[in-house]
């Protein structure tokens, strides 16, 4: 690794952690201008920074506003670097279909999970908010998803998470997907009760959970 490349990686990582969107874009442009490998710049720079931000969130040094600003910086950098990724670096990514269940429009938690999954290399299909149970099932089947992620902040809409699991069972394709749930009122006990495969209390945890579930599946 050249001195310049390692400096760029660190600069990208630091500017993401530092919530500095403008600086991230500047460094990403410099990376392109200096012919630094875009894939490496993303992985060792932007993603590394987002992972650090996720760790700061887990240790409660960063909170939602900070994590959202880090994500903005990461995405701004990605926009610059993505067109420069060499074709051979593109690899098959595991797919996640994610959304906020019907009846609820609070989507910040879901968006943060999406950010962290993106950063971890998952291909994320975001269905948005207020999503009917059948749409999760149909999209997951059509996309050949590995994981279905369900989010809600409201007690009154939690039954729609159970409904997704029920519809999957009815379709006979339950075993093809790992269903993960999260959101303020949701708990591990609730996940167990409705027959979901996992629960996470926060976005970085959701990535660990997703990886862990797919690793178990592969084993």
């Amino acid at each position: 690794m050249t001195q310049s490349a390692s400096e760029i990686y660190k600069g990208l990582s630091d500017s993401v952690v530092g919530m500095d969107e403008t600086l991230t874009v500047d460094i990403a442009r410099r990376a392109v201008a200096e012919g630094i490998d875009a894939y490496q710049a993303i992985e060792r720079g932007l993603v590394e920074g987002m992972n650090k931000a996720g760790q700061l969130f887990e240790t409660e040094e960063y909170f939602i506003p900070e994590l959202l600003l880090c994500a903005d910086a990461m995405y701004a950098g990605l926009e610059v670097l993505k067109p420069h990724i060499r074709r051979e670096d593109a690899h098959v990514r595991r797919k996640v279909v994610i959304g906020v269940v019907e009846g609820d429009t609070h989507d910040i938690g879901k968006n943060l999970v999406k950010v962290m999954l993106d950063a971890a290399g998952f291909e994320v299909h975001d269905l948005g908010r207020d999503v009917p149970p059948q749409v999760f099932v149909d999209t997951a089947i059509a996309e050949g998803a590995d994981i279905i992620g369900l989010s809600t902040l409201m007690t009154t809409t939690m039954p729609n998470m159970a409904e997704v699991v029920r519809l999957l069972e009815k379709s006979g394709k339950r075993a093809q997907f790992k269903v993960i749930v999260g959101g303020g009122p949701v708990s591990q006990a609730f996940a167990d009760k409705i027959g979901a495969d996992g629960y996470s209390a926060n976005a970085p945890g959701a990535v660990k959970l997703a990886k862990q579930l797919l690793a178990t599946q592969a084993a």
Binding site: E60, F63, P65, L69, G103, T155, T156, M158, P185, A189
Partner: protein, 354 residues
């Protein structure tokens, strides 16, 4: 049972004034924590979403909730969208089972908020519906506290400005964020004053968008505390007590609790109220029967949890957070009956939780 010493209204007011009582009141403050469960609506035929818009129906449903559940207060409204709707948010009124929600915030950023005339605004939308319901209820129930639940400043602001942007702007554009919060708090205050004039016994606020988990201690201190306190002072100046509900795990903002000007603090189920009281003896604690247990647990389990809270000296007993509308009436009765029948501050084997 012996004759009650205090009316439910007196008992709650005494607790909020930190005076002695015979036992804790058991209440449910309405708004995001309303108890308009499907079981009640099916019995009475007064239903949501219709009752969100009609004062007679709102009052009737509030009365049904009081009568069937055994909570020792009456509470309106049944959602946390009254204020945001008035400020321009598009609201879906939901269904019998599902509470109303914000469909679309009118402003993409704090920079674009229009500052409307608050004195005129409070005469519009569903505020008159709530106020008329309060007038009817307070007249018909002189001995029962009528609680009006108002949406907290941060939650209201995050319901009129796109919340993703709003949270970022707390950091990037704090001056303008404070200006929006001042505006919103002014509306909430005017609403509260009118509610007190209409006969409300106490004002409650839930601010689920302003938890320590979301904001962290620095921003909770900078944004939530001053605006909640401005509201609290205004409510006090108008002669009513103020109950504050804080959602989620508040360990990161616990040290800021003494700075908040509430007459009672209500917390979610994961918070140990006896420990909180030990640390901050000046607090009047309220809570916190798990809403998960209320929905899924057996009545005996609810009775155990509730009895423990009473014995632990929690000042006001209530559900810990928003109730699922599919919660059974028998579980809520287990909660309210237990409070009314549990001896205070006494441990006996019969009541020990297994």
């Amino acid at each position: 049972m012996s004759e009650p010493i205090y009316t439910p209204r007196e008992r709650l007011l005494r607790v909020l004034r930190r005076e002695d009582v015979d036992r804790p009141p058991v209440i449910c403050i309405g708004g995001m924590m309303n108890a308009a469960i499907v079981d009640v609506m099916k019995k009475s035929g007064h239903t949501l979403p219709e009752a969100h818009n009609d004062p007679a129906l709102m009052a009737a449903l509030a009365e049904d909730v009081w009568e069937y559940t055994g909570f020792e207060n009456i509470a309106v409204p049944f959602c946390m969208t009254v204020e945001a709707e008035l400020l321009g948010s598009r609201v879906d009124k939901g269904t019998l089972e599902c509470e109303p929600k914000i469909v679309k915030e009118p402003y993409p950023s704090v920079n674009e908020v229009e500052y409307l005339d608050v004195a005129r605004l409070v005469k519009e939308g569903r505020i008159p519906v709530v106020l008329e319901a309060v007038r009817r209820l307070s007249k018909a129930h002189p001995n029962d506290p009528v609680i009006v639940s108002i949406t907290g400043p941060i939650s209201t602001a995050a319901s009129i400005v796109d919340p993703m942007t709003f949270y970022k702007e707390l950091r990037k554009n704090p001056a303008e964020a404070h200006r929006v919060l001042d505006y919103v708090t002014n509306l909430l205050t005017t609403f509260a004053w009118k509610a007190i004039d209409a006969g409300a016994t106490a004002i409650a606020i839930g601010d689920p968008s302003a938890t320590g988990e979301i904001l962290g201690p620095a921003m909770f201190g900078e944004f939530a505390v001053p605006h909640i306190n401005a509201f609290a002072s205004a409510v006090h100046a108008h002669g009513a007590p103020f109950i504050l509900h804080i959602c989620g795990d508040m360990k990161r903002v616990k040290h800021l609790l003494p700075n908040l000007c509430d007459d009672a603090i209500s917390t979610d189920a994961m918070v140990s109220l006896p420990k909180l009281k030990e640390e901050f003896p000046q607090l009047t604690t309220m809570g916190n029967v798990s809403t998960y247990a209320l929905q899924w647990g057996a009545p005996e389990k609810i009775a155990d949890i509730t009895a423990r809270l009473v014995r632990d000296g929690v000042n006001i007993i209530s559900p810990a957070c928003g109730l699922s509308t599919s919660t059974s009436l028998s579980n809520i009765r287990a909660l309210t009956d237990t409070v009314k029948n549990t001896p205070v501050g006494r441990t006996n084997n019969e009541l020990t939780v297994s």
